[in-house]
């Protein structure tokens, strides 16, 4: 497989494999031709499961004061995430904004949360079956005009 010219000429300064995949409007089709040479889980030292395996992709992430104070000591994706989450975002949004795979973002967020750089607010599952909550969502949607 030959690499596209821009990849061959200029290797990325850090391993962010999906900068080149699918963001030019092309849909990444699983036919093997769009496969990057770098494996996405390189960023997580090969771990595909977050330290907390139940972490939801919609969980809300926000940087702690400790995380903000430690910003200078962090590198690459960790630094990007801590910087980005000064405002609350979901893990899915973190992944999309930093062009990380969602699985990679989950692992990194779970790590950073375990280390105290981030706090994660998770959906509460009994709550997702809570009629009051569902009614509130219904009222909120009804307000859309």
């Amino acid at each position: 497989m030959t690499l596209p010219p821009e990849e061959a000429d200029e290797p990325p300064p850090e391993p962010r494999p999906y900068l080149t995949a699918g963001h030019d409007g092309a849909v990444a089709v699983p036919d093997g031709t769009g496969v990057s040479g770098l494996r996405p889980y390189l960023l997580t030292a090969g771990r595909v499961e977050p330290v907390d395996q139940t972490l939801e992709i919609e969980a809300q992430v926000v940087t702690t004061e400790f995380g903000a104070a430690s910003y200078g000591q962090l590198a690459f994706e960790a630094r990007d995430i801590v910087s980005l989450c000064a405002t609350t975002l979901s893990i899915a949004e973190v992944a999309a904004k930093l062009r990380l795979h969602i699985g990679v973002a989950r692992v990194l967020v779970a790590d950073l949360a375990a280390l105290g750089y981030l706090v994660v607010r998770r959906p509460s599952f009994p709550l997702s079956q809570d009629p009051n909550l569902i009614e509130r969502v219904i009222r909120g949607l009804e307000a859309i005009r």
Binding site: H23, T64, G103, F125, S128, I134, R139, L141, I144
Partner: protein, 199 residues
């Protein structure tokens, strides 16, 4: 004097809302991304997921090493319901091989909207099968691309072989209020199911 940085969120950070989600499913090109984009308050975001070696086993894509980097695109948007609740809409990837992601998408979801193109209804079968299997309440919505329903709804219901209790609606994925109403159908259906005593 040094004050020890706390584990509290940074000052000025908005209090994290409770995230809730609805899954938008259906075959490739049925209007999932369109539906998300007309109602989302942010431009829809796309992220990617890789079938990992672990997931590949679950997904039974076999032991072919190349499959470990198969990617699927995941589109999503969000709607702020009120100060405490944020609704996320996740469009399932259009490809078939994303079984490993269905759990992440469906787990804890309020419900699902299965979008159907009446010209190729079988594209929605994997989604219908999956939501039936895991017991996630869902509504089947025929996307009226030209504003015309080409088949009788009763015929479509028969062809889809869905339970009579599952709502079958029509909507227009390009119309914001139509998408809103489709999502409301999902929530009302969920509410009905939640209200019913567990069997």
């Amino acid at each position: 004097m040094d004050s020890k940085p706390s584990a509290e969120p940074v000052p000025g950070a908005t209090r994290a809302p409770v995230p809730v989600k609805i899954v938008i499913a259906g075959g490739f090109g049925v209007g999932k991304t369109t539906a998300v984009s007309v109602i989302s308050e942010i431009p829809p975001l796309t992220t990617e997921a890789a079938i990992t070696s672990v997931a590949a086993d679950i997904d039974r894509t076999g032991q072919v090493p190349a499959k470990t980097t198969t990617t699927v695109a995941l589109d999503f948007g969000c709607i702020t319901i009120d100060q405490e609740i944020k609704l996320y809409l996740f469009g399932t990837p259009g490809q078939d091989r994303f079984g490993f992601m269905w759990h992440d998408l469906a787990y804890g979801a309020l419900g699902a909207l299965v979008i159907v193109d009446a010209r190729r209804i079988d594209d929605c079968y994997p989604a219908v099968d999956y939501f039936e299997k895991v017991g996630l309440p869902f509504v089947v919505a025929i996307n009226l691309c030209d504003g015309v329903l080409t088949h009788d709804l009763a015929d479509l219901r028969w062809a889809l072989a869905i339970d009579p209790a599952i709502p079958l609606i029509t909507f227009d994925a390009r119309d914001r209020l139509s998408v809103r109403d489709a999502l409301l159908s999902v929530l009302r259906h969920t509410l009905e199911k939640t209200g019913a005593p567990a069997s």
